[in-house]
């Protein structure tokens, strides 16, 4: 969190924070930030989200009891504020994912590995989204074109591959930070022969890096996106 050297006073520096068990809210905040910063859709945090859902349900009941049970209104509104903060994170996390599905629905639906990153309900949504869009494009344009040009995935029957499908820009630059010392990050695609191509990252220092170079490290949780 704070810059690498511990600035005394208010903010806890990194070491303290990683010591205490990171709460589910911290994990959700991390998932939210990663999802917001990554160009492509990441793996759905199903266990985390179901835990958060349970604790939200529980807290709502507590707030319900407190507000009707005559507890002082101050603590009720504080509990409500805490609840609203967690709800915001959850909604924002789910919303960003849905918007990414909307944006790259054809790409996701035709790539097995990407589809498997979705939650069950996201998969249903992706299916409906794909059908709706296909139907709309078909009725408005494709059905009116000559016979060899009616596909929504291929420009014409002469195309060798699906050359109409928008994909996320994996070579976009993202801001990231690692929690531990990382070496051997391969920056350039192509053979990793000379050492100069490999890159090290000190913990807690911010870097602007091409997303595809650190994609795996984000997925494995070693690197956080900001």
């Amino acid at each position: 969190m704070a810059s690498s050297s511990a600035a005394e006073g208010v903010s806890m520096d990194d070491d303290y924070e990683t010591l205490i068990a990171t709460t589910d809210v911290e994990l959700l905040k991390r998932a939210w930030r990663n999802e917001k910063a990554a160009p492509e859709i990441l793996r759905y945090e199903s266990k985390l989200v179901s835990r958060v859902n349970k604790v939200i349900q529980l807290m709502e009941e507590i707030v319900e009891e407190k507000s009707s049970g005559g507890t002082d209104p101050l603590s009720v509104s504080l509990y409500q504020m805490d609840l609203d903060r967690t709800l915001f994170l959850l909604r924002s996390y789910l919303r960003i994912r849905i918007q990414k599905i909307e944006k790259y629905v054809f790409h996701i639906q035709k790539t097995e590995e990407l589809r498997n990153r979705l939650s069950k309900y996201e998969k249903d949504f992706a299916k409906m989204c794909e059908n709706d869009l296909e139907q709309h494009l078909d009725e408005s344009v494709l059905s009116k074109l000559p016979k060899d040009y009616k596909s929504v995935l291929r420009q014409s029957s002469m195309s060798e591959e699906d050359d109409m499908v928008p994909e996320p820009q994996l070579d976009a630059f993202v801001l990231c930070r690692s929690k531990e010392y990382l070496t051997g990050i391969q920056l350039e695609d192509g053979p990793v022969d000379d050492r100069s191509k490999l890159f090290e990252m000190e913990p807690g220092v911010l870097h602007f890096i091409c997303y595809k170079s650190i994609k795996a490290l984000v997925e494995s949780g070693k690197i956080d996106l900001l």
Binding site: D163, M164, V165, P166, E167, Q169
Partner: protein, 184 residues
């Protein structure tokens, strides 16, 4: 391709280039000077999207477009920040990236990089000072890509200042357009 639906990419490919037909083509009305038969060797102005595909199949050879000719290069070399690139080609860099491989001129890539590098500093210093008026001469000579870069910096600075001023936390959904301004 990943950029199939990218509006700017489509517009860039509308740029015209002059080509020389290496093969004859019949039954097409694209050369105003000849009826519907184009002989080998005839020089025709084609949009990039057509010239590119024909060049890939060796049906035409493509000449270096004027916006990358010697004159522009000298001007850029002399005072790159002052050159009006937008009038030469609104998507100077994008178009350069597309044309370089098909005219077989390796120096275009280098020209793009050096032009971008030297104009980049100018954009940077002007962009982050929010006070800079958009209508000035400097603004009119920028290419679309440079303007994107410029606008990114400007909007980031503006939204920070708005937050610092503590402006109202919601904006009216921009899609509704300007509601009657009711500032008392």
């Amino acid at each position: 391709m990943a950029k199939y639906y990218d509006i700017d990419d489509i517009i860039v490919e509308e740029e015209t280039v002059s080509v020389i037909f290496q093969k004859a083509a019949s039954g097409v009305g694209i050369d105003p000077s000849s009826s519907i038969f184009i002989e080998t060797g005839s020089k025709v102005e084609l949009p990039f999207w057509l010239a590119h595909e024909l060049q890939l199949r060796q049906a035409v050879s493509v000449n270096v477009p004027p916006c990358f000719n010697q004159k522009t290069r000298q001007e850029l070399h002399a005072d790159s920040a002052g050159v009006d690139l937008r009038s030469r080609c609104p998507f100077f860099y994008e178009f350069g990236c597309k044309i370089a491989p098909i005219v077989g001129d390796r120096t275009i890539g280098f020209l793009l990089l050096s032009a971008f590098k030297s104009r980049y500093k100018e954009i940077l210093t002007k962009a982050h000072s929010v006070a800079f008026a958009a209508g000035s001469k400097f603004w009119t000579i920028l290419t679309k890509e440079e303007i994107y870069l410029y606008e990114t910096a400007q909007s980031a600075m503006a939204s920070f200042k708005k937050w610092r001023m503590g402006g109202p936390r919601f904006q009216i959904a921009s899609v509704l357009g300007r509601k009657r301004k009711s500032k008392e």
